[in-house]
């Protein structure tokens, strides 16, 4: 690690002062920070609900909250975490910051649209929070009809409006990424020289652009049915509830890849840098992202095995679901192969990457259990499912998000974080996570259903373990929040390329100037080409720039 002292110079953080310069910024790096602050707040809100859920489940009786309140708790936990944290986290924070830097552009193609996307996000989020404060929602984050459209007496339509608006924010971001990646790459940066993070964001954007409008219109129809009392999905009024599920899962299955594909992209960067090797089978990993995007649209009905799908339909969707596991497995295999004989350094981002690979593998393999018809019928709507998706989303996506945040923190803030604390944080999160969610696999297998506020006595031991794990996990999440903020002020200054990594984003000062690069870079090398001596020369040059600039 090279830490050098440089004179203060103008960068995107100090280029302009005042709250207005932030709220009206069109600089993708500043917008990324706006997103960073806002998704962190939403994560906190969702986390508070998680704590309440786990407190309730500490004892078998429903002694903390009533059933209706519990229904609201898990719904609002799910809604906040999925729509306002997991979906935007990596693309809108890390993606916004890095896409132009990684491809050598001065900004995203549509900077004002980018700012608008943040405002849509905030507006949607505030409306959702308003729904929560006004009394909450109890439908589950899936809004299954006809309960959501005709029977629930809670703030369904308001919540839907919030999600609808935040959907536009993802669409804008996705559109911006696709155009930027197509049209604004630096000279020489061909498609197969792109960092794998860019490939994964490209595939994610395609899913966003194709899927989000469908869920938006579907939720809008639910709201219309609720407000006007007309039958679209309610069978009592002539509608078809299964149609809702088809339309909903057409988006929401791919949505799990909106959450996890960017995470995979981050992991590819981390694995390459900290084992100092090109990713084994670079092209396979790149194409796997695209394959996931395509196949992800073909398997939605595996969420409907017990909802009245015909047997043949169910068999086809079960079969297709196995297929979508293939590209994910390719990635895991290629990361492992990259690590093999690499010169691995166990720094914090790499610890998160290891955590990701392990947890994602467990989550993925249990996903195959769920994709096979017979097992799914046994464990569906039990804690097995809850454990499965937390392994993928929390164990996968959040591990990668935190790993990425640490890896690019020197670039974002211009400062290094305290390595010891960071390692401790990663460890605490890993332990807390497994203690929280592993018992849930067992609980589900033993037959504890999800979404109940009370359970038979024999499940208590495992539930207490899970709640204890959750408190450890909570502490683990607080740690980075504290020391990262601390490092903004007191951390040692970071050089332009502290790791030393190969991407273009490391060939500009930390933090970067507003225009990203003083001169548009010309790319003449292959991705992840680790050549120590030349690298040091490049870094040396940049340091000279740092001081003169």
């Amino acid at each position: 690690m090279i830490v050098d002292r440089v004179e203060p110079r103008e960068n995107y953080l100090n280029a302009d002062y005042g709250i207005k310069s932030w709220l009206l910024t069109t600089d993708h790096k500043r917008i990324a920070l706006l997103y960073l602050v806002s998704v962190t707040l939403f994560f906190f809100v969702g986390g508070v609900f998680a704590v309440l859920i786990r407190l309730e489940l500490l004892t078998p009786q429903g002694d903390l909250v009533q059933a209706e309140t519990y229904n609201k708790l898990f719904t609002m936990h799910g809604v906040t975490m999925i729509f306002f944290f997991l979906i935007p986290a990596i693309p809108a924070v890390l993606g916004n910051f890095l896409v132009p830097l990684m491809i050598g552009a001065r900004d995203l193609a549509f900077p004002r649209l980018n700012l608008a996307s943040w405002y849509f996000f905030i507006l949607g989020g505030l409306i959702a929070i308003w729904a929560i404060l006004a009394g909450g929602v109890d439908t589950g984050w899936t809004f299954y009809t006809p309960y959501s459209s005709s029977y629930s007496t809670t703030y369904v339509a308001v919540t839907i409006l919030g999600i609808f608006l935040s959907g536009f924010s993802s669409i804008f971001t996705g559109l911006n990424f696709i155009v930027t990646i197509h049209r604004m790459r630096a000279p020489g940066l061909t498609w197969f020289r792109l960092p794998l993070f860019i490939w994964s964001l490209y595939a994610t954007s395609v899913i966003i652009v194709l899927g989000t409008p469908v869920v938006a219109i579907t939720l809008l129809l639910v709201a219309v049915e609720r407000i006007l009392r007309v039958g679209i999905f309610d069978p009592a009024l002539g509608g078809d509830p299964l149609l809702f599920q088809h339309l909903f899962w057409f988006y929401s299955h791919p949505a799990v890849y909106i959450m996890v594909l960017p995470a995979m992209g981050v992991i590819s960067e981390l694995v390459a840098t900290f084992s100092r090797k090109n990713i084994f089978g670079y092209r396979f990993v790149a194409f796997a992202s695209v394959a996931i995007a395509v196949l992800g649209f073909l398997v939605w009905a595996h969420h409907m095995f017990v909802a009245g799908l015909s047997v043949y339909g169910a068999m086809i969707f079960s079969f297709l679901s196995y297929f979508v596991a293939v590209p994910s497995a390719i990635k895991v295999f290629n990361w492992t192969a990259t690590l093999y004989k690499g010169s691995i350094s166990y720094q914090t981002p790499m610890l998160y990457a290891f955590g990701f690979i392990g947890l994602f593998t467990i989550g993925g393999v249990t996903g195959l259990f769920l994709a096979s018809l017979g097992i799914d019928v046994h464990v569906t709507d039990t804690y097995f499912v809850v454990a499965h998706f937390h392994y993928i989303m929390v164990g996968g996506t959040i591990m990668a998000y935190l790993g990425g945040l640490h890896y690019w923190w020197p670039k974002i803030s211009g400062r290094m974080y305290p390595e010891g604390w960071a390692k401790l944080g990663a460890l605490v999160i890993f332990i807390g996570f497994n203690l929280t969610f592993f018992p849930q696999f067992v609980l589900g297998y033993l037959g504890m259903p999800r979404r109940y506020y009370a359970y038979p006595d024999e499940f208590q031991v495992l539930n207490v373990m899970s709640s204890a794990g959750a408190s450890i996990l909570g502490v683990g999440y607080l740690l980075p929040m504290i020391y990262l903020i601390w490092s903004m002020r007191y951390g040692p200054r970071a050089s332009s390329n502290p790791w030393p990594a190969t991407g273009l984003e490391w060939r500009t000062p930390s933090p970067p100037p507003t225009e990203n690069f003083k001169e548009t870079p010309v790319v003449t090398w292959e991705p992840y080409e680790f050549r120590p001596r030349e690298e040091m020369e490049v870094i040396g040059k940049l340091n000279i720039n740092d001081e003169s600039g």
Binding site: D107, P111, V209, G231, G239
Partner: protein
């Protein structure tokens, strides 16, 4: 870095060419999201139309084919004037650009006016779901479903028209100031794409909603 001094080039692009390509790709992707958006509705419509073919035909008999037909002609004509507007911009012909933009806007407003008249008739006949809908006959619920789709789809389409008219009005002002020329006409071109897209949606809506009952005699 070749940076042109043109005022229309945004700071983060290298050339007008790059900026033009980015905007037009952005527009195409936006249209794809629009297709998916309407696609969800079309899917719902097709599903119910398959389940209740007779009822949907019956509902369709209550639409005014004459007014719908006139509107189809109006919209196709507006597509033509829009295409001519784009061409005028490409030829740097400011006067004809202004004229064709005005014509397109007027045709768009005509469409919206006729739509409003149609909506008024439905209101008078108690065919607006959620607003005192009443229909004699055993299948009233499903006829209402037809009208839910009718209003949702045509309403969303009309909303797109309103947005389009707004955009064209802004372009008209800019065109009056002489912003567009053979060197720079991207906004006109993109607005044209959008306008044609909205027209095409109508080309699907018209037969699906108005004409499906023609060959089926509703009771």
């Amino acid at each position: 870095m070749a940076k042109s001094h043109s005022t229309v080039l945004a700071h983060h692009f290298d050339s007008i060419e790059q900026q033009r390509e980015a905007s037009s790709l952005g527009m195409w992707i936006f249209l794809v999201t629009e297709i998916m958006f309407f696609g969800g509705l079309f899917t719902g419509y097709v599903v119910y139309r398959t389940i209740y073919p007779g009822v949907f035909a019956e509902g369709s008999h209550h639409l005014d084919i004459t007014l719908g037909g006139i509107n189809t002609v109006v919209l196709i004509t507006s597509s033509l004037t829009m295409a001519l507007a784009v061409r005028s911009a490409q030829m740097s012909n400011r006067k004809s650009l202004v004229i064709f933009l005005i014509l397109t806007i007027l045709l768009g407003l005509t469409f919206l006016g006729i739509k409003l008249v149609e909506y008024g008739h439905k209101f008078r006949d108690h065919l607006v779901p959620g607003f005192g809908f009443s229909y004699p006959g055993p299948e009233a619920g499903h006829v209402e479903l037809f009208f839910v789709f009718y209003f949702f789809m045509t309403g969303l389409h009309a909303l797109h028209m309103v947005a389009g008219v707004g955009v064209l009005t802004i372009l008209l002002i800019l065109a009056g100031r002489g912003l567009f020329s053979a060197e720079y006409y991207t906004p006109v071109e993109l607005a044209g794409l959008y306008w044609h897209f909205v027209d095409i949606i109508w080309i699907f809506l018209f037969p699906l909603l108005y004409l499906i009952g023609l060959h089926l005699k509703g009771s």
